[in-house]
């Protein structure tokens, strides 16, 4: 909504622009009622199937396109910062200055939590935060999840009649609309549904699972390289079990604790796998719920309320990105501090 308007024409221009857009939306909704799209958990295929050797049939899904867009945005930001740094200006301005502020804040956060090992942990945490943040916010752009191929609805999918808007060459650009309007452009009264070209990246479980795997696997790698092979002792704790057999006078507790150690090790191992599930489903669930919320609010109360929901989604996207990065940071710093006594928190990580 907040369109870029560099010139300050008069006091509170953006405010009036937003009010005007809301008023326009009231009339737009009356002229063109919003359609509730089909909600689907699996990402829709845009192109395909392609026969890839070794892998079999592959589809180009709309979340893959979204991933490319997110990566491009991040690359452009990185190149802008690189160019700004190369000019040798003492103070970075514009986008580069913004990025510098963000990175500095994130580094301070990493240093306050991880201390000495912040330099090793920070790249992973900051990369995850930036990718998730851009992915979360790119979901809110207009056109995402609403522009795509027109399909005939079948198999329990709710369909709507389509109306042709205009033609570009041979391709017909149409829009689906609520029933009542006469389906022009398409002779019969078949019902259509839209499968979008671009869909919010975190609404695909594959993406969040990949991020979770990166986070958890790199936690183990950092733990191993910092604490050495002793890090594995957290999971396979046979030390007291081995020493037990050499003892002559074995009390009841000396016989129980070795088994407790082994059991705790197994629990720690399970907790690592639970982290993967927890990471991936938290991000996926939050953002998918956000997408469904926007759809439902947008069709039930199409004026005023969607603005508030958009603001809320902006907030949720920021918080979820921060949570993802901060959990990675905390887990990684716990892996570097082997005997930090962080057992209680470790168990908390199992959720």
């Amino acid at each position: 909504m907040d369109t870029a308007q560099p010139t300050k024409r008069r006091f509170g221009f953006h405010r009036w622009l937003i009010v005007a857009l809301i008023v326009v939306s009231v009339f737009a909704v009356r002229a063109y009622a919003p359609v509730r799209p089909h909600v689907q958990v699996a990402p829709e295929a845009v192109l395909g199937p392609f026969n890839v050797p070794l892998l079999g049939e592959m589809y180009l899904t709309n979340t893959m396109i979204s991933l490319v867009i997110v990566d491009l945005i991040l690359l452009v930001l990185a190149l802008a910062v690189r160019r700004a740094v190369k000019t040798g200006a003492p103070v970075l301005t514009g986008i580069a200055g913004l990025i510098e502020t963000v990175i500095e804040a994130l580094y301070n956060l990493a240093e306050s939590t991880a201390g000495k090992s912040a330099r090793r942990i920070f790249p992973w945490m900051a990369t995850l935060i930036l990718v998730v943040l851009v992915a979360n916010w790119s979901k809110l752009l207009p056109g995402v999840e609403s522009i795509g191929w027109l399909h005939e609805a079948h198999g329990g999918v709710e369909g709507y009649p389509a109306r042709e808007l205009f033609r570009v060459g041979k391709a017909s650009v149409s829009a689906i609309e609520l029933g009542g309007g006469e389906p022009a452009g398409h002779s019969d009264s078949t019902l259509y549904t839209v499968s979008p070209w671009v869909r919010g990246l975190p609404t695909d479980l594959n993406f969040t699972l990949a991020l979770a795997l990166i986070s958890v696997v790199m936690t183990q790698v950092i733990g191993l390289t910092t604490a050495g092979p002793g890090y594995l002792g957290k999971f396979f704790n046979f030390g007291r079990f081995a020493r037990m057999w050499t003892r002559k006078d074995l009390g009841p507790f000396e016989a129980i604790f070795p088994f407790l150690d082994i059991f705790v090790g197994i629990l720690e191992l399970i907790a690592e796998f639970a982290k993967i599930i927890s990471f991936s489903f938290r991000l996926f669930g939050n953002l998918f719920a956000g997408a469904v919320l926007m759809i439902i609010v947008g069709t039930l109360v199409p004026v005023f309320l969607p603005s508030g929901v958009l603001l809320f989604e902006l907030f949720v996207g920021l918080i979820q990105a921060l949570v993802f990065g901060m959990l990675t940071l905390v887990f990684m710093s716990m892996a570097t501090q082997l005997h930090g006594g962080g057992h209680g928190q470790e168990q908390g990580g199992a959720h």
Partner: protein, 86 residues
């Protein structure tokens, strides 16, 4: 009862049970709500006692809220899987 009527009846019952199941799955958010409420109350009390520690408390609070919220999100994912898959 003709087969068509029976078919419609079965479809209707299945749809109704789907919605019922999704609603029941969301009961799991009760615990998350309680947990987040407790967390917020604790954090506000902590900040009131020691306003200087507000930053650290907020960070820990958000982390803990993320854990508590995850349970609700699981319930939500289950509900949405019931509703939108299959």
């Amino acid at each position: 009862m003709t087969p068509e009527v029976a078919q419609i009846l079965v479809t209707g019952i299945v749809t109704g049970l789907k919605f019922l199941g999704a609603g029941l799955a969301m009961v799991g958010t009760l615990g998350a709500g309680l947990g987040i409420g407790l967390l917020g109350s604790g954090a506000v009390q902590g900040i009131a006692r020691n306003p200087d520690a507000a930053g650290a408390i907020q960070i820990n609070m958000i982390l803990a809220i993320a854990f508590a919220e995850a349970v609700a999100i699981y319930a939500l994912v289950v509900a949405m899987l019931i509703l939108f898959v299959g």
